[in-house]
């Protein structure tokens, strides 16, 4: 997926989606104690040699967290980075567990929804081409 010939990012649309779950995102970001207990519940984290990039907390903080902190004002390149996090490092199996009750899958799903709204989606065709 290239950035060429793509329309500008619709920041208002991103904000509109963020607003729907604003409280949930804000509370989750505030609540995360960085305890890393969610890591062990992620099978991708475990099968990728416990790489911190695959920790569920890292994934939601660097996707929806980034979007929230920047109030949706992101570039296409930044959105494409987020796409890599929410698609390549998460399969949304919904098995991650947070002892503090953060609903990580719904936050990742929200980040994906924002990416989709800007036509920044994972290209499965490209993935298979390698």
């Amino acid at each position: 997926m290239t950035t060429q010939n793509k329309p500008d990012i619709d920041i208002l649309k991103i904000r509109e989606i963020l607003c729907e779950k604003k409280k949930e995102v804000a509370v989750s970001l505030k609540t995360c104690a960085h305890c890393a207990l969610c890591a062990d519940s992620c099978f991708l984290y475990r099968c990728r040699d416990n790489a911190p990039l695959y920790m569920p907390s890292h994934k939601f903080i660097n996707s929806i967290g980034t979007l929230y902190k920047k109030k949706g004002k992101v570039t296409r390149a930044e959105l494409e980075e987020i796409r890599e996090i929410v698609w390549k490092r998460c399969v949304l199996c919904t098995r991650c567990y947070c002892p503090l009750g953060i609903d990580i899958p719904s936050l990742i799903a929200l980040a994906r929804r924002i990416c989709r709204s800007q036509d920044v989606v994972h290209d499965f065709e490209k993935e298979k081409k390698g």
């Binding site: 949304l92 919904t94 899958p105 719904s106 799903a109 994906r112 929804r113 989709r116 989606v121 994972h122 499965f124 065709e125 298979k128 081409k129």
Partner: protein, 218 residues
């Protein structure tokens, strides 16, 4: 993964025409249907454009809108439709049969039509080339058939084959498909396990198939 194939556009449009629905919501699935290039966001956008072209050509007031959720088989993701679904006359699901049925269950007042056919559980041979490997019969026997499924790969689903109609190494039902039991024989021979093929296995209990619910109790 589950493989889906888009239905013929004429069939999809016929369903909508039959009931004179004008506002159509096309719902994609970000799971298996996306991976097999059958019902993800790209495919939703394409179908949307095609249906809108049909509407335009027929000078109908209708309009199709596309929306893709992460998975249609999970409550966490499908509830996203709650806010918007009431604005439409009907919905076209581009998920597998499970996703389509789940959406119909959650929104019983909304007519849901499948825009794809669920074809198989299969492997990715190449981009867009998928081969069926499993029919989810619920009683896997590939341990004694050398990893070749007789339910899926044998046209007759024989558990104690071959049938006697084997055409060389090919299936007598469809000539361009290898006989599953020849493959099973070769595989077992390679593994020095030909004794396995001589054992008579009980046939699959196909009668009275009922809906299965799985509870992982570990």
């Amino acid at each position: 993964m589950i493989k889906v194939k888009q239905k013929d556009l004429k069939i999809i449009v016929r369903d909508i025409h039959d009931y004179n629905y004008n506002q159509i919501l096309i719902v994609g699935c970000g799971g298996c249907a996306s991976v097999c290039l059958g019902g993800g966001q790209k495919e939703v956008d394409r179908l949307c454009a095609e249906i809108n072209l049909v509407f335009k050509a027929e000078q109908r007031p209708g309009r199709a809108t596309g929306y893709t959720i992460e998975r249609q088989c999970h409550p966490l993701f499908i509830e996203e439709l709650q806010q918007m679904i009431g604005q439409y006359d009907c919905a076209l699901s581009m998920a597998c049969g499970a996703g389509c049925q789940y959406m119909a269950e959650l929104y019983p007042g909304m007519p849901i039509f499948p825009a794809v056919d669920t074809v198989s559980i299969g492997i990715d041979r190449d981009i867009g080339v998928y081969e069926e490997r499993c029919r989810a019969c619920g009683e896997c026997v590939v341990g004694y058939t050398g990893g070749v499924c007789p339910v899926t790969r044998c046209a007759k689903g024989l558990f104690n084959g071959p049938c006697g109609g084997t055409n060389g190494t090919m299936c007598e039902v469809k000539g361009n498909i290898p006989c599953a039991w020849v493959e099973i024989y070769n595989r077992l021979k390679e593994q020095n396990r030909l004794d396995d093929i001589k054992k008579i296995r009980p046939v699959m209990e196909w009668q009275n198939q009922y809906q299965r619910t799985l509870i992982q109790d570990r």
